[in-house]
Point group: C2
Amino acid sequence: MWGSSLSTVVRPAARHQAYLGRRAYIATKPFQGAAAALALRKPIPAQEPEPELPLTEVDGRRVAVQWSSDLQSRFHHIWLRDHCRCSECFHPITKQRMLDTFSIPADIQPRAVDATGEGLVIQWASPHEHTSLYPWSWLKNNSYDPQQFAPKPDWQKPIIWDNRTIRTRTPTVEYYDVMENDDALYDWLAKIKKWGVCFVRGVPADLNSTEALARRISFIRETQYGKMWSFTSDLAHGDTAYTNIALPAHTDNTYFTDPAGLQIFHLLEHTGGTGGETLLVDGLHVAREVRRRYPRSFELLSQVPIPCHAAGDEDTFYRPDPNSGYPVLSVDASTGEVWHVRWNNNDRSVVNAVHPDLMEAWYQAIRDWNRCLTEPSAEYWVKLQPRTVVVIDNQRVMHGRAEFTGRRQLCGAYMGKDDFMSRLRVLWEKGEAGALDVHERRNVWSPGL
Amino acid sequence: MWGSSLSTVVRPAARHQAYLGRRAYIATKPFQGAAAALALRKPIPAQEPEPELPLTEVDGRRVAVQWSSDLQSRFHHIWLRDHCRCSECFHPITKQRMLDTFSIPADIQPRAVDATGEGLVIQWASPHEHTSLYPWSWLKNNSYDPQQFAPKPDWQKPIIWDNRTIRTRTPTVEYYDVMENDDALYDWLAKIKKWGVCFVRGVPADLNSTEALARRISFIRETQYGKMWSFTSDLAHGDTAYTNIALPAHTDNTYFTDPAGLQIFHLLEHTGGTGGETLLVDGLHVAREVRRRYPRSFELLSQVPIPCHAAGDEDTFYRPDPNSGYPVLSVDASTGEVWHVRWNNNDRSVVNAVHPDLMEAWYQAIRDWNRCLTEPSAEYWVKLQPRTVVVIDNQRVMHGRAEFTGRRQLCGAYMGKDDFMSRLRVLWEKGEAGALDVHERRNVWSPGL
């Protein structure tokens, strides 16, 4: 379609001298098709093009870039103008858009499009003269037609585990290393992200050292329970966590809009009794099992929102926003991946927004979920010891506890997921770029901006 | 359908003496229909029923309660058993489920169903003998077939405003009242919730008094910018907010998974210059305008997620989870109401997950959004003065700023939406229940549990 309209209206554009490269022909008649394949026409070059530059072609709505014989990306003019990252349009330090998107004419057209060694160069005539440059690698990684997924850092690929996997490859780091060394810190955070859980050995068995460890990641997230908490089974707060009864595997804070990202536990002391083993279950493993064995239940678990509450203390009454709550499994529509697990059947409020025709199927879905969740192959039981801290991704890995007797003292903290991820990204940048300063390792073309 | 199956199999159940009321007939043959109307059969009463008790009817899957001649609710047996709130099944202090939902047989049947003055009483035989009581008002407010919406507190009904409304009815409270009096505190929080913005007059123009005011609501939310912040135009952080340039109306923290719920501003000083007026725009007003005038754009604004980032500081790099971001408008599927507005075009990252066929329509949608957002009728401009604090619902009302000259010093804080709402709920409970103690004003039947 592009080819056929171009074939009648293409005209050679005058060569622009500022860039060494190959200029695209610009069709003056707007192309009407949506996502048709572009039959590229070889332009008649003023001089032989440099062979490594992608072929580009233009019509009234888009610029097409031919990466290889079988891969072409198309970018709308409006998108290209809006994504200009020159220092007038995009602040080089704050990494914020300075350009007024709404001053761009909806039907903006390039005056000239050049393939250069630096990247794609576009000259715009309206609303005023402007030149934009887009590096090829940036364009390729941000292609949306077709959508390209830029290569992911290794820590973004989860290791989904069952009992056997984690028993044989238990993710563990050493306190001393993590406290002293940024590479070890990065290794720790990457393990937390990949496994959803990581043990830290050799931590002095006191609250201050545990807090110092947590602060290597970020500030502590304050909640109605305080910041660093210290626990004995005294029902200090109106929550069964503050008793000595068994707790089935769950995530914390289902009653928050944004549950804690990390949960940090340190058993400081357990004397005069037995029990209290910690249970860990990978929510991604359970989700995968349910998806495979009970696809209809998986669907309901990812669609039906569940209301929750924390109302055991007189002066607080927490519910998520919106009050209808969130599904057990949040699935990313673009990738199909589960990115958030919320599960605490005990904090569940009245279920009164499920369609009546689905109510029994929904109970079947949580029954299927619970079946996969409580299979011995999914459960990792571990007896925590003083001097070993466990860090849990509370939006993925569920934790529980066996009943216990005696005096058991723990301390711990919540941390925000965003704060944790920010730290991991920065450490990753530093590791990738070696000793380069921040302006070299993060610029306007960096991934994620 | 219920009626027809019941008509062939109903049998009178033996009267249970423990409850004064009317027993429902129980059909032994499971009813197969889904949501058909129930033709009620008058039971032959052992004695004349008390006239105020609802009629109840039972089949193999559900109990039906006839509230009036034209309103009937149906509750599945599994739902009823799971929602038992006796002190064995539901902890009366912590308000958490103690019952193991997964021990309930999927095909559980009531042994007897009685309408009593206390409420609906059900006797269960399996997995073990148990009796459940459900107050009528609780059942009615939690009906899901058909879905009933319990009456809302007044503060849950937003006042959607334009320039004229807010200029003539500016929501304002007095610092002294709010600090001294819980009724005034409730009034303040209710105003913030209803209007999305409220002014507090008479606040001493210093950071400590501003913090004390904030702490009447909750703890301050810590972020990468600290807790209480104090601002001068020195680009202390890599964000254009820390300059003196104009900022169009936006919400803060679009780069967080859960943006700050409240934004608190106090202009402490502005000397040697002019400008810096504060702009406020009600996102619910803009959303309503777009919905009415540009329905297709409204749809895209509520569906297309927008990635955002905060990457101006060397040691942080924030993106929301999932990285694909959130739409400008979050709409509650069950009510159709907009419950969250996120808008900062300057913090927007590369838009590379929009379907190519929608890209131009999406640009049109944000153009329509911006048109409604910048209409003079939507904009409320106010020149802040020392001693007047403004509190903004950052998930609803957008704020901006005119360019300024001179030395301008502000302080402020972020607060969590959940923390704010918890406080408002508790104050509302106290106000509703007068001087009653917590166990009287919040029990297992309270709304929201």
